[in-house]
């Protein structure tokens, strides 16, 4: 009986740790509906196709790392590294920080307390709660800044794989960390990668996350970040979808104290029949918060892009400044963008705005470039690069920036 939610998870096996969370997950898997077109949050990204497949979780044993993929996705970056394959930690390829003020280890070795309730709200979240395999556990002590970024590299490799990573980051007061979450998949892979990252950012701490999806094969990717910010903390999250068969990025930022600052940006350039969905929620519940969001996409061929950005300004969140901009280019016949920027505002002394556009490349600019002897394709590439470049430039580490740019260029033939 394929297609039912029970049959879909029937071959999943979970490790023994975090029993409490797993049993909650089991319960909500039963209680919650499978996301479908009738649900407001999933109407543009239904998953019935995935449900018709039969997937398996795999064990961590007998790992053969494919040759064509480097374990280190950002080769020139001086970083720590945790490598996962199909959800399992690969210690031989990893390099973790060792420091008295930093705890960094595979999640399976720690009993970490998660605070978010995503698994109680979404079936996909319940699945991760019940069957998650491993992930990063990172805790940085008060007033300590991690000296190098941590790269989490997740590889999906093989047919009909179900991979369910789960990461947890805790920054104490005044602490700082940079994390790169990179996911790859080998050419012949198929299945699902359902990952969750939770971060608690204490007062005056800062967190930067660059999330990159560069997956070959035919993976359904669910990737949810839940970030809780305390007073005066800063976060910056950049989400890049370079390649991915079907991708759903969800980012939820909850400002849990006054004076928070949140910046989050994203770019998506799907081709072929790729589907890329970016869902963001910014929840301002305290005064004097600032948020700024920029997402840009170009839909090529027969691809589909989805953007949904929600900004809440709760009753007490006076003096909030929230800014959101989403721009889209539908490049080819057959491509589609579904965008839904939303503002829900319950406080009066606020400045909030959103802008959303669908358009083409600037014809004037194109003409100008051509008139200088630049060929049509090259001119377009230049413009695209500039368009996406505005988002890429918000990545702080040059090495990461260059790698993202290199991969986009390779894929889209930018000079």
């Amino acid at each position: 009986m394929t297609g039912s939610k029970e049959s879909f998870i029937s071959n999943f096996k979970a490790p023994e740790n975090s029993r409490g969370l797993r049993s909650q997950g089991d319960q909500y898997l039963v209680d919650l509906p499978v996301p479908g077109r009738r649900s407001e949050r999933w109407k543009y990204s239904p998953i019935s196709k995935l449900l018709n497949t039969s997937l398996n979780t795999c064990s961590g044993e007998g790992v053969v790392w494919p040759e064509e993929i480097l374990p280190d996705p950002v080769p020139f970056l001086d970083s720590y590294r945790l490598v996962f394959r199909n959800g399992h930690y690969v210690s031989s390829l990893s390099d973790m920080p060792i420091d008295d003020d930093v705890i960094c280890m595979p999640l399976s070795e720690v009993g970490a307390e998660f605070t978010n309730d995503y698994h109680k709200r979404e079936w996909v979240g319940a699945m991760n709660a019940a069957y998650h395999q491993d992930g990063l556990f990172l805790k940085v002590s008060k007033n300590v800044s991690l000296d190098r970024p941590v790269v989490i590299h997740h590889l999906t490799d093989g047919a009909d794989i179900a991979a369910l990573p789960r990461h947890y980051i805790e920054l104490e007061e005044g602490a700082g960390a940079e994390v790169v979450v990179w996911s790859s998949a080998s050419e012949k892979s198929s299945g699902m990668c359902n990952g969750i990252l939770e971060a608690n950012v204490s007062s005056n701490a800062y967190l930067r996350v660059d999330k990159i999806c560069n997956e070959a094969g035919e993976i359904f990717k669910f990737s949810h970040e839940y970030i809780k910010q305390e007073r005066d903390s800063r976060v910056k999250i950049n989400t890049f979808t370079i390649k991915g068969h079907w991708v759903r990025n969800e980012l939820e930022i909850v400002a849990n104290g006054p004076g928070t600052d949140s910046t989050f940006n994203g770019a998506y350039l799907p081709t072929g029949t790729e589907h890329v969905d970016n869902h963001t929620v910014m929840d301002h519940a305290y005064p004097n918060g600032t948020s700024s969001e920029l997402y840009r996409g170009i839909m090529y061929d027969k691809s589909t892009g989805v953007f949904n950005g929600k900004v809440f300004v709760r009753k007490d969140a006076q003096q909030t400044n929230a800014f959101q901009q989403n721009s889209n280019i539908v490049a080819d016949k057959g491509a589609t963008i579904n965008a839904k920027p939303e503002l829900e505002i319950y406080a009066d002394d606020v400045k909030c705005s959103h802008g959303c556009t669908v358009g083409q490349f600037d014809k004037e600019a194109l003409f100008y470039l051509k008139s200088r002897g630049i060929g049509s394709d090259e001119a377009k590439a230049l413009l695209v690069k500039a368009y996406v470049g505005d988002v890429i430039s918000s990545v702080d580490r040059e090495e990461v920036r260059n790698e993202i740019l290199r991969l986009y260029s390779e894929r889209h033939g930018w000079a």
């Binding site: 016949k333 579904n338 839904k340 939303e342 002394d349 705005s353 556009t357």
Partner: protein
Amino acid sequence: MSQTEEDKLLNEVTGKSYEFGFTTDIESDTIAPGLNEDVIREISAKKNEPEWMLEWRLAAFKIWSEMEEPEWAHLEYPKPDLQAISYYSAPKKKTELKSLDEVDPELRKTMEKLGISLEEQKRLSGVAVDFVMDSVSVATSFKDKLAELGVIFCSLSEAIQEHPELVKKYIGTVVPQRDNYYAALNSAVFTDGSFCYIPKGVRCPMELSTYFRINEAGTGQFERTLLIADEGSYVSYLEGCTAPQRDENQLHAAVVEIVSLDDAEVKYSTVQNWYPGDEKGKGGVYNFVTKRGICYKRSKISWTQVETGSAVTWKYPSCILKGDDSIGEFFSVAVTNNMQQADTGTKMIHLGKRSRSTIISKGISAGNSQNSYRGLVKIHPGATNARNFSVCDSLLMSSTCGAHTFPYIEASNPTAKIEHEATTSKIGEDQIFYCQQRGIDEEEAIGLIVKGYAKEVLNKLPMEFAVEAQKLLTISLEGSVG
């Protein structure tokens, strides 16, 4: 502003009772509450309708019985008990009227209270008024003059009798029976409404106007309007609504269908001030309306609305831009105060090449109200070079109200150009002070600023309405800053 002053001002507004809250004592012919096939047969029979109309209603009823009330609007309200409503209420003394003098004196008084005494209208403004009182059109004017041009402007019941071919051809073509829960309900039980047909090439020389009132206690109002602008014609249509003050919630589920054939232009303007309930949120009208127009080649439909009333509003006047080079417009001012909730906006469905749409929405929220803009701009694959421009602004007048924006943008054509902007801000204290320093008091300053904020939309209203609309804005908001 200091707390006490704020309280004082708030009291003043909330203390302002609904100006049009009176009921008219006219004997009505009302059928027993409840809804089933027999009730529909009875309505149809009372109206002496042809068989095809009854069949159509029954089909709608069947569809409706299988539907569920929608949940997705940003609204919270107890679901109305649809079995407790009487689906037909007509003033009893209905005789053929030869002149306005024959109109029931009580009714005349009502009209006068509403400020639309027919004689006056007739004498002064050149507005033909089709006055809908609890669903049955009791008096129309200017018929003769319009008849000369071939313009048909009458009640829908009359049109069903006199022009069945037109009604049959167009009814349900823009808002099908199964469109949504309340449209299906309306299709089953509509009692009356206006019908309007403008023949080919005719520019209707006057603004056509209907005033709706919900009068009878416990009666839902299910009027249905069908407006057909034949090729190359033009019409401007005004709809104004008031409802008497009652404690229980009254349901109003209307349907408006507009067909704008090749090269035609329709302007549809609404000023809605149904009873919003008291400051505690008791009573008031539930306004669940489906309004939609279809534009054929080079034709244009322009919706303008000023919404200040109703306890709960759910309304999205929309345009299906089917023809090449067709144009859809939506201009809206929605004011909510006290406990009012409004979820309103538009849908622009682009099918035709080079179709264009413009959306200007200005929300104003005060008191404890919730005001949402919800809109859809959809560019279908065949709609080459379609354009949309949207601006949705929200003005917040209190720290306990909410202003929300939910635009949906769906584009499947590489030549589509869509620009959507939304801002939310507080009424500017600096602006108020600037006015005060020039000797304009706070109340008046707020009125000026709000009217200025809404001006782009108010300017789209025909003269007769603009004045009334401005007054309504001021009445609904006076002193509500805080």
